[in-house]
Symmetry: C2
DNA sequence: GCTGAAAGAGTGCGGCT
DNA sequence: AGCCGCACTCTTTCAGC
């Protein structure tokens, strides 16, 4: 992962549908060389995939929340992961420092749906209690540079 | 936004670099029809763009945090947005219900860099105090279906 | 949705470091 | 070896209809 790879990542972060010629121009490479580099970045796992940034409102996933999860005992990250991965409303989950054990980012169609999903989280084995912050408005959502 | 558009969104969410032929197949359309639909979804803002999912470790952005922001007075979302958008380490920011006024997702190279970035957030006008949860391990990160 | 010209993707080969 | 650029073929894009 050198400066050229970084330029490729920056370019693809900005527009995942860029052509290899565009990517190459951004990195000072020819199109075939850019393709080979990008393929390698995907193969090694540095790039995990390519997605669209969809306005959640656009398909009726209006309701979003950040949920702090407090656990009983000392669950391992792997246990927490297993608990979360079966709940499709969980978009993102991290273990964190501080009072809470994990922060879980959830997306649901509406409040009712969100409540049901949060209850599924609370029902998983090591969860003692949760503290939810429902998203009122999205201020910013940048691609991760 | 009908069932066909939804199929297109699902397809592009799974792989933003899919060809129009692939997208069309997923939606039961020809390639040119798929392109016209996708172009329209981008033009209307339902799709805001296309990015790569990059392993943050892969380029030394090891340190991540969720920061709860508590403000003085009643800042409008627009004011908060203006305060955050100049800080590149802020990846995501939302106003939320509950005690905190906003949740801010930040990404930095290391702890020192994160601390500096959090201090920049605290220095912006309406922020009274912040409460940070530093990410220890990332359990899950799903494309937003 | 189809067609045809133009652009891009993807692979093999030679050269350079 | 590793990596780039060039040249080639095949696929895809995209503006007509």
């Amino acid at each position: 992962m050198d400066a050229i790879d970084q330029a490729i990542v920056r370019c693809v972060l900005r527009d995942a549908r860029a052509t290899y010629a565009q990517i190459g121009r951004a990195a000072g490479l020819s199109a075939p060389a850019a393709k080979r580099r990008l393929d390698r970045l995907v193969a090694t796992g540095a790039i995990r995939g390519f997605t669209a940034l969809v306005d959640p409102q656009a398909l009726a996933w209006h309701t979003e929340a950040f949920v702090e999860v407090y656990c009983t005992g000392n669950p391992t990250p792997a246990e927490l992961r297993r608990a979360m991965e079966d709940i499709p409303e969980v978009v993102e989950a991290c273990t964190v420092s501080g009072a809470a054990d994990a922060v879980v980012h959830m997306l649901a169609r509406d409040i009712t749906h969100l409540e049901q999903a949060i209850q599924r989280v609370r029902a998983t084995a090591p969860v003692e209690r949760t503290e939810s912050a429902i998203v009122l408005s999205r201020l910013l959502n940048r691609p991760r540079l």
